[in-house]
Symmetry: C2
Subunit: 280 residues, 2 copies
């Protein structure tokens, strides 16, 4: 049974996302990577206009240099070792700096499809809610797992953003749906389970696609998702400054950008350091 306090918290959280979508004319940004876990860069993202932030454990694994890993690919093998308290610390810090009006969702060991099983308890979700999270960023890859996450999240007043992928994807970040028919079927099932936001993993091959464009398959899959569900829709993967307009044209409500954000900050630092050293 979900208590009234928790229901109220979820109503407020849902309004944050709805207002952000409205304010940004139908498509808003979910800023992640460094901007989700480092309070300095979260503040910068919000100053730039971000209203939705996502902290996640692979990014924090890289921030903390856990076991020396320095790529997202390598982080997949160790991210489940990150203690939940590292994520709580990030959430608390980002929330303290960006204030109450920003929607903050959190990926943490066990909310993704992990290399090693991580048991989730209601207390974990309670701690995240108390730290300041509005939602759980869920990359589970089965409906049964998603259901477990939704129940624990809602018990503690947290919303859930969850994703559709393909079983053939190298990394499993969503519930598999190979074709359009399956996308519609899976999306409906996710909505029925109670997923508050449903996203499409869009980090497929962009080979042979013109600059500023996105592959037809991604357009079709996004279209199928958007037509099928009544909850706000997300796109995640492969979104950059050049193709974001094409993503917006699909009508998706939220574009998630992480790697591109990190690339901007890292590129700025790398070139600044080179200038300071080589300035003769």
């Amino acid at each position: 049974m979900i208590k009234q306090d928790m229901k109220n918290k979820m109503v407020i959280a849902r309004q944050k996302v709805e207002k952000a979508i409205e304010k940004d004319n139908g498509t808003t940004l979910m800023s992640t990577g460094m901007t989700g876990d480092d309070a300095r860069l979260a503040k910068a993202a919000v100053a730039g206009g971000a209203k939705i932030l996502e902290a996640n454990h692979p990014a924090v694994t890289l921030a903390r240099g856990l076991e020396g890993v320095s790529t997202m690919g390598d982080a997949e093998y160790v991210r489940h070792e990150l203690p939940l308290k590292s994520m709580l610390e990030c959430v608390r810090g980002v929330r303290a700096v960006v204030g109450p009006d920003i929607y903050l969702t959190v990926g943490f060991p066990g909310s993704f499809t992990e290399r090693e099983p991580i048991p989730l308890t209601s207390e974990d979700f309670r701690q995240l809610a108390l730290a300041g999270a509005d939602g759980v960023h869920c990359h589970k890859s089965s409906l049964a797992d998603l259901k477990d996450v939704v129940i624990l999240a809602h018990e503690n007043g947290l919303l859930v953003d969850s994703y559709i992928g393909k079983k053939s994807d190298l990394h499993q970040f969503g519930i598999g749906a190979e074709d359009i028919t399956e996308v519609k079927k899976v999306a409906l099932a996710m909505q029925e389970i109670g997923a508050d936001f449903i996203g499409m993993m869009t980090g497929m091959s962009y080979e042979g696609v013109a600059a500023g464009e996105i592959p037809q398959e991604i357009k079709d899959r996004l279209q199928a998702l958007i037509e099928t569900v009544s909850v706000p829709t997300f796109a995640e993967g492969g979104i950059n400054e050049v193709n974001v307009k094409a993503f917006k044209n699909t009508g998706v409500n939220v574009v998630t950008v992480g790697t591109a954000m990190d690339d901007y900050a890292e590129g700025a630092i790398k070139s600044a350091v080179a200038k300071f050293i080589n300035h003769q």
Copy 2:
């Protein structure tokens, strides 16, 4: 008594700094701010050519959004509350990602002039050394305090970079020396105590100074320091892309850049977010 193992560790650490200075033709960079504590950005700084990194507790206070502070000025009031283990975690992560050849110095609660007294123990220094630090970034503001830090650092194989400031500075980041005579006297005393690197706080007013130039007073103070000591010299404060050449021309061995680094990363994020949101 300093054990041979500790002496060896210090010899290797000193060589890292000397080689960096030599490689960069007399003046190298110490990169700090985000690049000292976040393994993702430390990696980017090293990719740009940085060979010396500095992690410090005010920066980590901002990264973790401790008590919601988001400016260096506000961080001064809470930075002493940061647990040493947060600094150990940063040092361990940065070291794991950048490898053994980078010189890594660390500011931590008690190594600066703090608002609340922080007792330092040899065990604190030992933990920092074990985490991967080469040195201690010391902003104590008395010779007696510097001596305590040097003894504890050397006992544990850590070098010390320490600074000269002015008693009239708003924030006390160095041992006070009002004029050139005092700069020479204080610098010699610091060297005698065993400070391995001696720096000048150069974050004074740049008002009325032409772009690319630095005030005559800073030049004179740096000159006095450089002439007086035989250890490598540092400059910290007010150094940016435009005036770095003027700093190099003074002959100082290491320019420390933190705020400018953070500004590059934050600026890149802020403008990227704005582009993603406003791209029509």
